[in-house]
């Protein structure tokens, strides 16, 4: 597992107004593995995730300093093409949020924005994307149905397919299973294992067992600091920092 870094973060600080939400973060997220970020509510884990596709830009009064390198390019700074960045770095949210359009239109929405494509090219993308999330067999005859009629799990898969349709490098997942039942959660986790063959996945989760089950590396955050970062088996069996130990054994938070 000597994958190269997909993201290199150094000296990253972030403020919401006066609130220092991320403090001197330093981390390397390796390519084509699943990295989990865990920590109590308000520790900064979602903020860190949102730095990676510049979603925090939408928050008023946000300031950042430091470096976040993706393929040698620093994504912090005014000059960055944020739309281009978000094509490369897609995000899956807690509550699946398909557009109120057909299944087909949900998937071709992104590709249409980024390139002028013919119908057969779009058809091809729809099939590939739905196959990538193991939905093709289920939905191939229902592509014109509204995405809003799907089950929660199907909606979440569709949202992931919508991302893979624009061929990103990185998938960010913010509590992607927290609204799903255990069976659906298990199936999404299996999907994530499949997806990591092609994508770098970073997941924020409150569910420690989930982090332990699916991730290759884990970062523990507390009060805006990245306390510990390393191989998941190490973090969950012999963490180096007392605070990590207290959190994952339920003594804190």
């Amino acid at each position: 597992m000597d994958n190269i870094s997909a993201i290199e973060i150094s000296g990253l600080d972030l403020w919401y107004g006066d609130f220092h939400a991320l403090k001197n973060i330093r981390a390397g997220f390796r390519e084509r593995i699943i990295t989990a970020i865990i920590g109590p509510s308000g520790c900064g884990k979602s903020t860190l995730l949102r730095v990676l596709n510049r979603m925090n830009d939408l928050v008023e009064g946000v300031r950042m300093s430091g470096h976040v390198l993706m393929k040698q390019e620093d994504i912090i700074g005014e000059a960055v093409d944020v739309t281009g960045l978000r094509k490369k770095v897609g995000m899956v949210f807690q509550r699946p949020n398909p557009f109120p359009l057909s299944i087909y239109e949900n998937i071709v929405f992104g590709p249409r924005i980024h390139a002028n494509m013919r119908r057969h090219e779009l058809d091809d993308i729809v099939e590939k994307s739905l196959r990538s999330v193991l939905l093709w067999e289920e939905l191939k005859d229902k592509l014109n149905r509204s995405a809003l009629d799907l089950s929660l799990e199907q909606k979440q898969r569709l949202c992931i397919a919508r991302l893979t349709a624009v061929k990103p490098d990185i998938l960010l997942m913010d509590e992607p299973c927290s609204t799903l039942d255990p069976q659906s959660t298990q199936r999404i986790e299996e999907l994530m294992r499949e997806l990591k063959k092609d994508y770098t996945i970073i997941i924020v989760t409150h569910n420690m067992q989930q982090a332990a089950r699916i991730s290759d590396e884990t970062g523990f955050m507390l009060l805006g600091e990245l306390i510990e970062f390393g191989p998941t088996e190490h973090v969950f069996t012999s963490p180096d920092d007392r605070r990590t130990e207290d959190y994952i054994t339920g003594r804190y938070g």
């Binding site: 332990a212 969950f236 069996t237 012999s238 130990e245 804190y252």
Partner: protein
Amino acid sequence: MERFFDEELKNLHKDILKMAVMAQEAIFRSVEALQSRDRGEAQGVIDTDDKVDELELEIDERCIDLIARHQPMAGDLRFITTGMKINAELERIADLAVDISQRVLELADKPVLKPLIDIPKLSVIAQDMVRDAIDSFIEKDVDLAKKTVFSDQEADNLRNLVQDELINDYMAKDPSSAPRAVPLLLIARHLERICDHATNIAEDVIYMVKGKVIKHHSGELS
């Protein structure tokens, strides 16, 4: 923050200590039986072993139950998995005390072959090692655990000494001594195996405390 889970871990700890006391008592009584050629005492060790086996199963079930219900992590996980292993080592130690007792019964109605010198020394080392291993578990004392691991060499040397003496000075010279020499040889072997189990316990304790596996790499101990 005190957790409900902590109470259950404390109970598990108590049961492992109970198991340790039973195993230590079994060794002590079997060694006493050997030295005093006491059949009753030897039989007592054999009869008590069922209780040790019962407690072993109980502890095992409890550990599995704790893992299933609490999905422990980090130090909790290391404590429970180490507890399971120590439990198994203690059960084996008690079995070896039974083996010694059976040899004592075999020897009891035969004339004494020789005064016992090195076997009692080996039995002291074995009892000390088991005590130290258990204490290192109770106190989470890595230094004491390391000391236990190092003591194993002494036990091996002493076992070899006993073996050489019994083979060369007795069995080779007078084959008719074998029925009395072989049980003694086996007793030395049983005691040396007890030391190996104490070593395993000590290695498990080091993993439990430090999260570092030293098994099969005891060169990395220092």
